[in-house]
Symmetry: C2
Subunit: 138 residues, 2 copies
Amino acid sequence: MTASDLTAAVAAVHESWMRTVDLITPVLAEHRLTTATFQALWAIDPAEQPPSMKVMAERLYCNAPNLTFMSNQLVDRGLVERAVDPADRRSRVLVLTAKGRRVRDEVLRAALENTPLGALTADELRQLTALLNRALRT
Amino acid sequence: MTASDLTAAVAAVHESWMRTVDLITPVLAEHRLTTATFQALWAIDPAEQPPSMKVMAERLYCNAPNLTFMSNQLVDRGLVERAVDPADRRSRVLVLTAKGRRVRDEVLRAALENTPLGALTADELRQLTALLNRALRT
DNA sequence: CGTCGATGCTTCGAGACTCGAAGCAATGGA
DNA sequence: TCCATTGCTTCGAGTCTCGAAGCATCGACG
């Protein structure tokens, strides 16, 4: 593996993400969301147990004060509610509101409709995902 | 192509980039750099003609005031100098200083050494890059 | 040659993001 | 019961992002 192979790959990954975000900015703005709050909203899967703030911080690679701030942004916009975790009363879990689920669906759909990755075939997508997950597993 | 194939691919791309950035944060901090200034520094290839601020704004998907701010950050840290483009005196090009070239090399090397993509073989990297560039070409 | 709309950048103000330090309440083991 | 640890919040400072407004230069057009 040459350094330039790796450089090109990192650059392509970066560019793919930046393009995806750039293309959904108008949709995010409609809901007074930004890249950071979009990522936070995306990280709350309504099909799973509501994540604690600690889990969210790990998913988003940010620290506790930052998570508090972003949670406030989502709460202020009516997309999320804080709840005490009965199992550990120190912990707060983030629960999507009905509006939160709706907005999350909408911006996620916008992302999938606009991302340049949408130009790939199903086979190519699975191949791409397999490669990246193999790298991430390390 | 199912929606979940696409979702998984976008998530994997996002995660790969976030992990890469997260892992070089300590190195960035040594040079008083952040993700934003790292991206800006990366976008100035010393092997090419110094880019104008307009070109930089396109590369980084941000607007003119933002570019002015980030350029100031880089200038304040002694990594970049502004120069008037002789061909168009309205335009300003960003020229790496000696220190700028050195720091850029260092943080770029740190990124390549730490990125999870480094776990892939040369063949896999070329395959990955080819897939992403095919998507980006659209 | 002069005029004027378009272009490239900066300034300003406001809001959003990020982090370290310090603090509080709850937990769990000694 | 004591107390170190954990999860979150508050605070202050610095960074990032953007729209609106302003300035200088450019280029087309008469």
